[in-house]
């Protein structure tokens, strides 16, 4: 997957988790927590959805990499390089 694909995957997961939130103005550099008020339960969900959909497992010590869209895409670009779209 390319960084663009990964960004779309994350957007899809976010819109499933939070269908009432408008994601069109999401700022990639700003933490999700500040823009969407995601809490630890929601971060667990992002991790679980990635595991469910793409069999990517993210250990607990790496959860911090998922703080914002840009950090998430940077982190997952390495982990998901061999994952098909």
């Amino acid at each position: 997957m390319t960084p663009v694909d990964i960004r779309n995957v994350i957007l899809e997961i976010l819109s499933d988790i939070s269908p009432d939130t408008d994601l069109s103005n999401l700022d990639d550099a700003v933490p999700f927590r500040e823009q969407m008020e995601l809490d630890s339960m929601d971060f667990l969900d992002i991790v679980m959805e990635l595991k469910k959909r793409y069999r990517v497992s993210i250990p607990e010590e790496d959860y911090k990499e998922l703080a914002s869209m840009s950090s998430t895409v940077a982190f997952l670009s390495q982990k998901m390089v061999n994952v098909g779209v």
């Binding site: 499933d16 339960m41 969900d45 679980m48 595991k51 469910k52």
Partner: protein
Amino acid sequence: MYDTIIIGAGMSGLAAGIRLAHFDQKVCILERHYTIGGLNSFYRLNGRDYDVGLHAVTNFTEKGATRGPLAKILRQLRFKWEEFALAPQRGSRIAFPGVNLRFNNNIDLLRSEIRAAFPSEIDAFERLLTQIGDYDDLDQDLFVESTRQRLAQIFREPLLVEMLLCPLMWYGNAREHDMDWGQFSIMFRSIFLEGFARPFKGVRLILKNLVKRYRSLGGELLLRHGVKRIVTDGDRAVGVELDDGKMLVGKRILSSAGCVETIRLCDNLTEPDPRQAGQMSFIESISVLNCQPEQVGNSETIVFYNDHSEFDWRRPEQELCDVRTGVICSPNNYQYADDNQLSEGFIRITSIADFDRWNSLNSDDYARAKWLWYDRSIESSVRFVNEFRHRVIGSDLFTPKTIQRFTFHDNGAIYGAPDKKLDGTTHLKNVFLCGTDQGYVGIIGAIMSGISMANMHCLRI
């Protein structure tokens, strides 16, 4: 082999089931009763639909809210706000002799009522709001602190303390007389800072949505399948034996049966658990009117009344019931969309009751007692709302015995045991609690309990 076996198809078990099935677990929910819902169920009698439990869904927030328990459970279960179809309350009241405090889903009404009735206490009330805002849900030591001691330090008017405690104890306090500070803070937010709402179709709408979703994810639900015992091997459970003798094996068990009730199911315990099940149970009289309640001057959603200046939140010591305090609720009195309205009027009155006394009556005395206490609870309530008895065309009454018979909770205890098990763990490494004894009460609380215990103990593996 199931990944998780869930005991009980109430709000918490169904919510946990959805989470686990969504993440591809093989899940089975076992329910002894012939229908779903547990402490928040519904029934049909003489062609009418009745709700059990639900007066109001608490924690109401408007569509689009990102904070608060309602928003959180919608996200976790992937529901849209519209699917719960919540209509906000009209307005409610705490009624004590000579003093009334009205409140609705905006804290400013309660604030102005307190300013008018207790002008010297308004600053203290603001301090209370700050303390409630600062309360950290995850702090177990803070959770069990005495609310009465806290409030005595904040307020000088004992009557105001009793009036604030009344609705919060009524809607979620398993402990007699005092209340855990954590429970108080959670209830305060859910009732005064968020608020009451109800789906037009009542609790069945929420339950049906939960079941539909659970089944669509491949979850199994077995009604009329009670668990006789939890089969153990050393410090772990290996599965359950059903009432009919059938065995199911599972990697872990999540039980909403209650703390004492779950431990009693385990086949490796000979010592009885010293913790006591809860004692607070209720009767509820339901009157069907041939008009809307507002036509006889009762347009409020919920009235919490108490006929003397102290609020005695205790099991009755002398009689079957204590009707000096009660809750009067009209499911008609919500702001339903498109001016929808229930075709008949309903007034439900809840009073404190003693399980042991109700349970010891023979069937004739039991039937007589039901009608006696139906009359007494209404007689008591019409001191605080307008007379409606001339409009009654149908009625029913359920007792602690009814609640015990259908929910299998000891003593028919509505809010479970006084000592909550916030982390949901038991003496067995793979058996966990959810529901009323884990800590959260009410519909939203029960759903949250199922979600958080599923996340904490069944998904992070």
